[in-house]
Amino acid sequence: MTTLEPVIEIKDVVKFYGGNAPVLDGVSFRVFRGETKIIIGASGSGKSTILKLILGLDKPDEGQIFIQGEDITKLNEQELVRVRQKIGMVFQESALFDSLTVRENVAYRLHERGEDEEEIEAKVRQSLGFVGLEDAIEKFPSELSGGMKRRVAIARALIGQPEIMLYDEPTAGLDPITSRKINELIIALRDIHAVTGVFVTHRMRDAFTLATEYATNGDQQIHFHHENNFVCIANTRFLMFRDGKIVFEGPDEVLRRSEDEYIKRFLA
């Protein structure tokens, strides 16, 4: 695969969940290496569904989904396990395993692969260190706040060093400070680790943070900067869904200047 080939390619995807109206109606887009695609839209517009299809948790009724050039719509559950190793997903409500500690939750993927215990411990600590939650390693999810759960979920998704990260409203219901922390983690993954991402949200403040800020690595510390007058430094593009269709695709600058009535109302 060359660097110009998309990491994720969605081609004419249609998905029904009962009823006559499709949840996704002929959706097509591509995400390139190191890019973060922000999917915005009202509730029920098909945003979360597209993430489930990319991960192979569900299959489209029509169309194709390519992950690094491989059509995953033809794969069975066993074959999908190999594809899912490349993808990390942060679920809307964290979806941490209640009966497992933070350590066991984060280490889950590595335990399943049967990796060495010492290596697992080191990787778990590294991943929890990235989200700033090393101290919570022995705790159970019920002992964590909403924001901490999301950060553990990010650490769990990151543990296998996936090339693709999917975020399903990771800041929903969180206070601005915690949301900011999570956004910074996502920006750092995009800019420092070149992780390709799809970020689903309806919180425009978070979406614009991702689209206008970028991270640099210096003095053994990650620094965050605003684009200011420079445009399109942050490797992020917007997709707007409406009733299962894409009604906008482009950078934040174009989105803000859009004359479309629906987009204007959404951004207001």
Binding site: L57, Q78, V81, A95, E112
Partner: protein, 253 residues
């Protein structure tokens, strides 16, 4: 809410698919031995107290009730045989299974249902695990393995319950009670009495898993699934008990 014929056929199809997939998964790696042992502990050891109490009081009441009838024929001495046969052939397997359906089947449905509505099952799949292998197979194997053991416990404590009443209320010697109980049982009775909980164990666990994995509608849906699991598995236990009893009687004549 009554099921439409189409929905009923789909449900049977989904149920059969789950059974087939779980059966195929038993023989494929990875084997979650630790999960199986944990479930055996939760299901088997965790149900011991309720099974002991159920067995003991059932045996005691059975002795009290039947002693009156037997005494009219002057046959109270046969009470040990009657209690042992009733418990080993019917009451032990059925009551133990019904109690496990209430305790374990509901637990399985609510646990899997909660995991489903909070997207933990999807998270598991996203992390490369087959939920059927990780969650369903250990629960089925553990229930099928532990229910015969619990039935033996229910049978034994039932006979002890009957013995307690026989000795202290009916004033029958313990030797007579126990020797009648022992002589009254054949190996075929024991075989039939242990075959039933194997089938019932599969019913309780598969119905619990299926109800849990078809949960929809948030926490309210979890409650609904739990109730459905207990009701459906209890009825299936009673229906299959009739079928199995008929088969066992035909082949042990």
């Amino acid at each position: 809410m009554p099921l439409s014929p189409k929905a009923a056929v789909k449900e049977v199809q989904e149920f059969s698919y789950l059974v087939a997939k779980a059966f195929a998964s038993v023989f494929r790696r990875p084997y979650y031995v630790r999960d199986i042992l944990t479930q055996m502990d939760l299901i088997g050891v965790g149900s011991l107290s309720v099974i002991i109490l159920t067995g003991f009081f059932t045996g005691a009441v059975l002795t009290l009730q039947t002693s009156k009838t037997l005494s009219t024929f002057g046959a109270v001495g046969l009470i040990g045989q009657l209690v042992a046969l009733s418990l080993v052939r019917e009451l032990g397997p059925v009551l133990a299974s019904l109690m496990v359906a209430g305790r374990v089947g509901s637990g399985i449905a609510s646990e899997l249902g909660s995991m489903l509505v909070t997207e933990q099952i999807n998270a598991m799949r996203a992390l490369g695990t087959d939920p059927i292998k990780k969650l369903v197979v250990p629960r089925i194997l553990a229930t099928v393995a532990m229910l015969p053991v619990l039935t033996i416990v229910a049978d034994s404590t039932g006979i002890i319950g009957g013995l307690t009443i026989a000795v202290f209320v009916l004033r029958i010697s313990s030797n007579l009670y126990l020797s009648r109980a022992w002589d009254g049982l054949s190996y075929m009775d024991l075989f039939g009495g242990l075959l039933k909980p194997l089938v019932f164990g599969a019913i309780v666990s598969v119905v619990g898993c299926r109800c849990g994995l078809r949960t929809y509608g948030g926490t309210q849906g979890v409650g609904r699934s739990t109730t459905q699991a207990v009701v459906a598995s209890s009825i299936m236990i009673l229906v299959f008990n009739l079928i199995l009893t008929r088969i066992i009687l035909v082949y042990t004549r």
